[in-house]
C-alpha cells in the first residue's frame, strides 16, 4: 500500500514540518491511504510534543447565548449581534471565518439551525458584529429573544489538552511544535500517543476523561478517543492507538 496521499491539499509543508508562516488554509485536510488524516492547524501558546493529545482553544462562555441584535429572515445570509462587554477580547476581522454559528432558543421551530461562517466584521467588546454565513437561513429568529452560539475554527490556536477538558478534543501532535507555529495535526488513523495508563492492553477503549493523557475507558463520563493497538509496556509510556476524533 505504501504511503501515498489520497486527498491532496496543495500546502507546501511536509507532514513532520512546522512553519512560522502560514502555508495554506487552517482546517485543510491531508489523508493517507492507510487511514491517517491530518488537519492544517495553528498552535497556540504551548510547546507541543509528539504524541501529546491536543484540544482547541479554551471555551469562552461569552461566545454562547449571545442575544441577537437584529431579526433573521428566511433567506438571510448575515447575522448581527453585540459582542458581550465581558468577552475579554475584541473580535478581529474574519476571526470567526470557518467557524460555525448556531441558533439557540427554547422556542420550537427555531432552535438547532447551524451555518458555517464565511466572514465577520471587526468588533470591539460591547459593539455590533455582523457575521456572514455561506448558506442562507431557512427559518426566522427574533432580536432580543433568540440567542446564538458561535464556535471559532477549533484548529486555530490549539493547545495541549488540559486534565479537565475546557476545549474541543481534536487530535495528536505528530512532531514538536513551537508556540504560534503552523503544523499538521493528526485527527485519524494509527497514531502515537503518550499514555498516562499503566495497565493499557491491546484492544482497550481509550479515554481522555479527567486526564491530559489517554487512559482506559472506565464507564464514567468517558471522553472516548480511540482503541489501543498495543499494550503499554513497563519501560515507557508510548503506545500506538487507532485515533478517533470524529474525522
Amino acid at each position: 500500500m505504501g504511503n501515498r496521499v489520497v486527498n491532496f491539499v496543495p500546502i507546501k509543508q511536509g507532514l513532520y514540518e512546522q512553519s512560522s508562516t502560514k502555508k495554506g488554509d487552517i482546517g485543510s485536510v491531508l489523508e493517507f491511504e492507510d487511514g491517517r488524516k491530518f488537519v492544517y492547524s495553528l498552535n497556540g501558546t504551548d510547546t507541543l510534543t509528539p504524541g501529546a493529545p491536543i484540544q482547541g482553544p479554551v471555551e469562552n462562555a461569552y461566545d454562547e447565548s449571545i442575544v441577537l441584535a437584529e431579526n433573521i429572515a428566511v433567506g438571510d445570509t448575515t447575522v448581527t449581534f453585540d459582542v458581550h462587554a465581558s468577552r475579554g477580547a475584541n473580535l478581529t476581522l474574519n476571526q470567526l471565518r470557518d467557524g460555525y454559528i448556531q441558533i439557540e432558543d427554547t422556542a420550537a421551530g427555531v432552535i438547532g439551525h447551524m451555518r458555517k461562517i464565511k466572514s465577520n466584521t471587526a468588533a470591539a467588546v460591547g459593539t455590533e458584529c455582523v457575521v456572514t454565513v455561506y448558506d442562507a437561513f431557512t427559518d426566522t429568529a427574533t432580536a432580543g429573544t433568540d440567542t446564538l452560539n458561535v464556535l471559532l475554527n477549533p484548529y486555530s490556536g490549539v493547545l495541549l489538552k488540559n486534565s479537565t477538558s475546557d476545549g474541543p478534543w481534536l487530535g495528536v501532535a505528530p512532531c514538536d511544535v513551537t508556540a504560534a507555529y503552523y503544523f499538521w495535526l493528526q485527527v485519524a488513523g494509527p497514531a502515537s500517543v503518550i499514555s498516562g495508563e499503566s495497565t493499557m492492553v491491546v484492544g482497550d477503549g481509550v479515554s481522555l476523561d479527567g486526564s491530559a493523557t489517554p487512559v482506559l475507558c472506565d464507564g464514567a463520563n468517558d471522553e472516548f478517543c480511540g482503541w489501543a493497538m498495543q499494550s503499554q509496556d513497563t519501560s515507557g509510556n508510548a503506545v500506538m492507538i487507532m485515533l478517533c476524533t470524529g474525522r
Binding site: T106, T147, N153
Partner: protein, 247 residues
C-alpha cells in the same frame, strides 16, 4: 478553507433544502472539506427538527431469522426466503442480507441488496444482491436477517431506541420529504436534561433525540461536545461521530 464539497453527488438539492420528490438515490453522500458529511434520506411519519438525532425505521422482528427457501451455492447472486411479512417491490433495495446460522463457516456473510419483488407474508421471495456469495447455505437449516436501507423513512430517536442511529437533520423536514441528513462532522445538537461540558463524550441513551454527557451504562455514543451547555438554552455545537467519519 471555505465551504467546498470534496465528494460530490449530483443531486439537484441543497443541503438546507427539503423536497417532496426524490432527486437521487437514498443513501448517496455529500462530503465537505471540513469533515461534514450528509446522506440523502427520506423522512418517515413525523416532522423533524434541526439538531434532534434521528434513527432508521423501527426494527421488525419478521426481518430476522427468516427461513431460507432454497440452498445458496458459491457464486449465487440471489437467495430465496420464505417471508414472515409483506414486502413492497424493492423495499429492501440498498439494504442488507446476512446469513445467520450457528454452523462455523456459514454465519456472518453479509451482502448489499440490489432488488426484491413485491410479496405477501408466507410467500417465497427472491432477493438479488450485488456481490456473489462465497459460501454455501442450506435451505431449511440456515436462516437470514434482512435490513432495509436505514435512511429510508427515518424518525426522531424515541426514548427507547427502535432502530439504528442515523444522524442529525440540519433543517425542519416535512413528513415523507427527502433531505440531506448529517452523519459526520461539526454538528448542531440539542441537549437534554443533563449538563454537558465541553470535551464530554455525548450519548443519546434514554433520551428522545437529545444528547447528554456519557454516563457509562449502555452508552449510545454519538460524538463529543465542542461547547458547554449553558443555562439559557439547550443547543450546543459538537462533533458528530456515528460510524460515517473517515474519507
Amino acid at each position: 478553507m471555505g465551504n467546498r464539497i470534496v465528494n460530490y453527488v449530483p443531486h439537484k438539492q441543497g443541503i438546507y433544502e427539503e423536497s417532496s420528490t426524490i432527486k437521487g438515490d437514498i443513501g448517496a453522500m455529500v462530503e465537505f472539506e471540513d469533515g461534514r458529511k450528509y446522506v440523502y434520506a427520506k423522512n418517515g411519519a413525523v416532522a423533524l427538527e434541526p439538531g434532534l438525532i434521528v434513527e432508521g425505521p423501527a426494527e421488525n422482528a419478521s426481518d430476522e431469522s427468516i427461513s431460507l427457501a432454497s440452498d445458496v451455492a458459491v457464486g449465487d447472486k440471489t437467495l430465496t426466503i420464505t417471508t414472515a411479512r409483506t414486502y413492497t417491490k424493492n423495499e429492501l433495495m440498498g439494504g442488507w442480507v446476512q446469513i445467520e446460522d450457528v454452523a462455523a463457516g456459514v454465519i456472518g456473510h453479509a451482502r448489499k441488496i440490489k432488488s426484491n419483488p413485491a410479496v405477501t407474508s408466507g410467500d417465497s421471495m427472491i432477493i438479488t444482491i450485488y456481490d456473489a456469495f462465497t459460501d454455501t447455505a442450506v435451505a431449511g437449516t440456515d436462516t437470514v436477517n434482512v435490513m432495509e436501507n436505514m435512511y429510508n423513512g427515518v424518525i426522531v430517536c424515541p426514548t427507547t431506541h427502535t432502530g439504528p442511529i442515523a444522524g442529525v437533520p440540519p433543517i425542519h423536514v416535512t413528513i415523507s420529504y427527502y433531505f440531506w441528513l448529517q452523519v459526520a462532522g461539526i454538528c448542531s445538537f440539542i441537549a437534554g436534561a443533563d449538563t454537558v461540558v465541553v470535551g464530554d463524550g455525548l450519548v443519546v441513551t434514554g433520551l428522545a433525540g437529545t444528547v447528554k454527557q456519557a454516563a457509562g451504562a449502555d452508552d449510545e455514543f454519538v460524538g463529543w461536545a465542542y461547547q458547554s451547555q449553558n443555562s439559557t438554552g439547550n443547543a450546543l455545537i459538537g462533533m458528530l461521530c456515528i460510524g460515517r467519519s473517515g474519507g
